[in-house]
Amino acid sequence: MIELLDVTFSYGRGSRPVFEGFEWIVGAGESWAVVGPSGGGKTTLLYLIAGLREPAQGVVTIGGERASRVLRQGAVGLVLQDYGLLPWASVLDNASLGLRVRRMYGLSAPPATATPAEWLARLGIDHLRDKYPGQLSGGERQRVAIARALALGPRVLLLDEPFSALDTMQREDLERLTLQVGQEAGATTVFVTHSIEEAVFVGRRILVLGRPPNRVAVVVENPSDGSDPSGRCAQVRAVLAGEASS
């Protein structure tokens, strides 16, 4: 589904590469978490998959198509930690933004599983449809961002620390809900987080990034049997410590 083949990327000539000859393959419908130290390339990885950054070498493909091509189709949903919503548009207008962009380019609506209004209802914020982002709590804003991403029926849902500014209760609720709606939408999910507990909760497979340059994808399997989450956290922590010191 998502393939990174021999990917090398750095910010500007002469700077240390974040990825060097990096290979990583994500199967369709899989649910991944990505953990790693600050500056380890977690967000860069999402931007490469989203097609918002181009690798200096190698290719990033989604379903066999180049990521930069998929970007123009709006087939990759991206949810960021904050600042992703238009402050001047209502909740419903924000959730419908992807469809409005498609209409502007004369494209028909994609085969999504539900309309923006239905996604708002599914995410429990239908009553806020006429409010503006400035009137919402952090958790409500992130629900709008998720509804907006899902309204285009994305093949891939990318989340960049979407709940890190929220309290624990809200975060757990939203993690559960995101997993559910991601599955309902049939999207492959890549969830970037700095919290190992969150990674173990949302990712059936966990990619552990180390200090750049990342060359090899280090993966911890985390099957959904729910057994021994604290043991799994310890395992990820140990791998992370090993990667950070390598």
Binding site: Y47, A50, L52, L71, R72, Q73, G74, V76, G77, L78, V79, L80, Q81, D82, Y83, G84, L85, L86, P87, W88, A89, L97, G98, R100, V101, R102, M104, Y105, L107, Y132, G134, Q135, A145, R148, A149, L152, L158
Partner: protein, 246 residues
């Protein structure tokens, strides 16, 4: 601004004026009632025509300045290359008092409407250009990335992000420039023309020592500035409701 507060401030101003008129008790400072009566009499006699001529010049200048400066400001804010190329010139030109070019503008463009609209446009152009450029440059990259991930290209980014993001800044620039625009207009209309409030005040009334009529012209010019100020306020409330949330 609440209507009640506005009305109260106007009443206080009129009372101060009336008190000053009683104290001075001279023909060079007629009271507000006499001036109001003169205004009513003068509107069909020519004051109305002069008011409309001035209002049309300010409105045309505002429209031309926005149409020319906003796209250039957006381009400068988006493109670092263009910014590097043009910003030194803007830096040098911005603080120059444009009014000193009036004699040259009159020589080149004649004494008709064109020269007056040109000088006001020139002043407003730089105000709008600078605020739009700065606003477009400070847009958070996260916002642009998240909208691009919905398939937005340059055109959609302009329509859904840059345009609404810079609209309040454009209106603020216009609101702050209204006073200057009307002052420059007064100066430009005070010679070499036969229509406009500047002409009415300086040529038709001041030189004839027709004090009540002159004050009527001054009040009309003040109302012109206030009218545009209120109009821009209303436009902002209508176009940017998210700025007026509880």
């Amino acid at each position: 601004m609440r209507r009640g507060d506005l009305l109260a401030a106007t009443v206080v101003l009129v009372l101060v004026w009336q008190a000053a008129a009683w104290l001075v008790s001279a023909s060079i400072l007629p009271g507000p009632l006499r001036v109001a009566a003169t205004m009513v009499r003068e509107i069909p006699e020519g004051l109305g025509r002069h008011f409309l001529a001035s209002a049309a010049r300010v409105a045309a200048s505002m429209a031309i300045a926005v149409v020319l400066a906003a796209p250039l400001g957006l381009a400068l804010g988006q493109s670092k290359r263009l910014h590097r190329l043009l910003s030194p010139a803007i830096y040098v030109l911005y603080p120059i008092p444009k009014i000193v070019f009036l004699p040259l503008i009159l020589l080149f463009l004649g004494i008709g409407d064109t020269s007056k609209v040109f000088i006001i446009t020139l002043i407003l152009f730089f105000q709008v250009l600078v605020v739009v450029r700065d606003e477009a440059a400070t847009l958070r990259p996260e916002l642009l990335h998240s909208v691009r991930s919905l398939g937005a290209g340059r055109r959609a980014l302009f329509r859904f992000v840059y345009l609404p993001a810079t609209l309040p800044a454009v209106l603020t620039a216009l609101r702050l420039s209204v006073g200057t625009a009307v002052a420059v207009l007064f100066f430009a209309e005070s010679f070499a023309t036969e229509a406009g409030l500047g002409y009415y005040i300086m040529v038709e009334t001041w030189t004839r020592l027709a004090y009540a009529e002159m004050y009527a012209g001054v009040v009309a010019m003040s109302l012109l500035g206030l009218g545009f100020y209120l109009l821009i306020d209303q436009l902002e409330k209508r176009l940017c409701p998210y700025l007026y949330l509880d």
